[in-house]
Point group: C2
Chain length 322, copies 2
């Protein structure tokens, strides 16, 4: 995957800008890997988070400004919500070192390239990235070192980006256990709109719908929210800022997939209304096949919940016959 | 909850009609409880399942016909898909003992009362029920004794049903660890349409939508199906027959909730199209509150996955920041 010596850290000083769930998981994972970075510098705009980082002791230095954090760094990771990237870039751009490698963890990539690329100084290498991992929890306490193990980490470098820069980012994330893949930004956004953005939008919607009912019913929706609905509430418990930014920044792909979804749902609705049992059965049988291929494609090794596994699990029930 | 002596089984002979995931979990749970039934009789229309039941040894007798299974039984549980209830009833009705208690595990209750009540002989007591528990797996091998522990088991007896009969069913399911609640059938169907039926319909739809794409993309949808989408595929992996019957038998409530959902989704779609970030944030913040109340309402004790906990968990990620 890379010819960088395994016993040497990929970066001398790696700066993390914005340290929430993902940022703190990166800090913990890089620490644990040992050969990711010699020094971990961190900045978060929230003073409470900066204070907490000092208590947690998962980074080597915490800084009052993003500019200070990136000064002297040969590696920089934007871990803030994508909506904040432009503002962050205009602040740190003048302070980025020549030859430094800049990457991010944003869930959308075309918009990131659009916002960030124009602000990257000559001599700094930008390699957009996206770890397909995480939990619905937010904040530096929610992170854990095992989050990226066996998970995909997608990189979408543009044409002409220095291959050495891409190789370094690839090496860094490989060393925290991720499976790194390089792909086109537009394709990334289209596939993720299907596998992540649309599902989250639907989950947010159904949770909202279920609660626009009278009080008594709402109480029982909570009490009897086993199975399907509870899985949805977990998904809908994700960070509002992050998801607002995702939907606003992957608008085209999300709206296209949403249109397809609505057409399909309308067809099913009609089948239910007209009691077309055979068509319903046929459709459910087909989606069951999909489930099989997904399970086959993801072997159990990579436990996305890390330490929270059993705890989280007690709150998840899959497609229950309720 | 009941004044039946704890050291005596609730039923002398309990007959299970249709032994899939739920039926076999009931068999295992009643066996484990010890004081649920002195004898467990079972029938399944599938010869392979009957053979498997003999191998598993989780019931005391396996019968070639439902009529034979219910003969001499003072307790009968319909564990087949609700669509099969009418046919089963017309076969077993003549063989039901006087004073026998009849219950079921159907996920819809109004339709069950509609189909079953008219076929219940004089002197037989019908107490419709629904365990809010289960997994997406099917068949007798998928069941486990702990499935009902700490889970709700909803009973919807009609006016005038012998309270002793209801008390017996209540005692039986309490002894396998369930929290038994008595409620109105129409209300049950309305609440479950929100907490279970609509979520399942949505999950089936989105999984179908994601796969109506060209091959390359489909492969990547599978490979990158972490988080949201993978949770949906699990839900959509549920038994097609059972779900077809649920949607056909809770049509009114499901269509009403589906209408509300579509309106809410259309509103969000418009907010995305017009880039109304504040409204999106506000909505996501609200659903997050819902998540909190759901988590508070369900403490971790009741692990729905029982033995499969970790295995299943490796395939669940909640609302991930992808």
């Amino acid at each position: 995957m890379t010819d960088l010596p395994q016993d040497e850290p990929v970066f001398k000083r790696l700066a993390l800008i914005g340290v929430g769930n993902i940022g703190s998981s990166i800090a913990r994972a890089v620490r644990q890997a040992g050969n990711g970075a010699a020094h971990l510098a961190a900045f978060d705009r929230d003073p409470a988070v900066r204070a907490r980082l000092l208590e947690l002791g998962i980074v080597d230095s915490v800084h009052e400004t993003a500019a200070e954090a990136v000064t002297g760094a040969d590696g920089v990771v934007l871990c803030a919500p994508v909506g904040a990237y432009a503002a962050i870039m205009s602040e740190i751009a003048p302070h980025l070192e020549q030859g430094a490698v800049l990457t991010d963890i944003g869930s959308v990539k075309l918009a990131v390239v659009r916002d960030v690329a124009p602000l990257v100084p000559e001599g700094v290498h930008f390699v957009p990235g996206h770890p397909v991992a995480g939990t619905e929890k937010s904040g530096p306490d929610a992170g854990f070192a095992e989050l990226f193990r066996g998970r995909f980490w997608l990189l979408t470098p543009e044409e002409g980006v220095d291959p050495t820069a891409t190789a370094k980012v690839e090496a860094l994330w490989s060393r925290v256990g991720a499976i790194v893949e390089v792909m086109d930004a537009a394709y990334h956004d289209k596939v993720l709109a299907l596998t992540s953005h649309l599902p989250h939008l639907i989950a947010y919607t159904i949770v909202g719908t279920a609660f626009d009912v009278e009080e008594q019913e709402r109480q029982d929706v909570i009490r009897f929210s086993a199975g399907g609905f509870r899985d949805f509430t977990r998904i809908a418990g994700s960070d509002p800022t992050m998801w607002r930014d995702i939907f606003l920044n992957n608008k085209e792909a999300v709206l296209e997939m949403l249109q397809r979804f609505t057409e399909d749902l309308t067809a099913l609705q009609r089948q239910i209304r007209w009691g077309e049992g055979d068509k319903l059965y046929e459709f459910f049988e087909r989606t069951r096949e999909v489930r099989r291929s997904v399970v086959e494609a993801h072997q159990e090794g990579s436990n996305p919940w890390g330490p929270d596994a059993n705890k989280e699990d007690a709150d998840s029930e899959g497609g229950k016959p309720e």
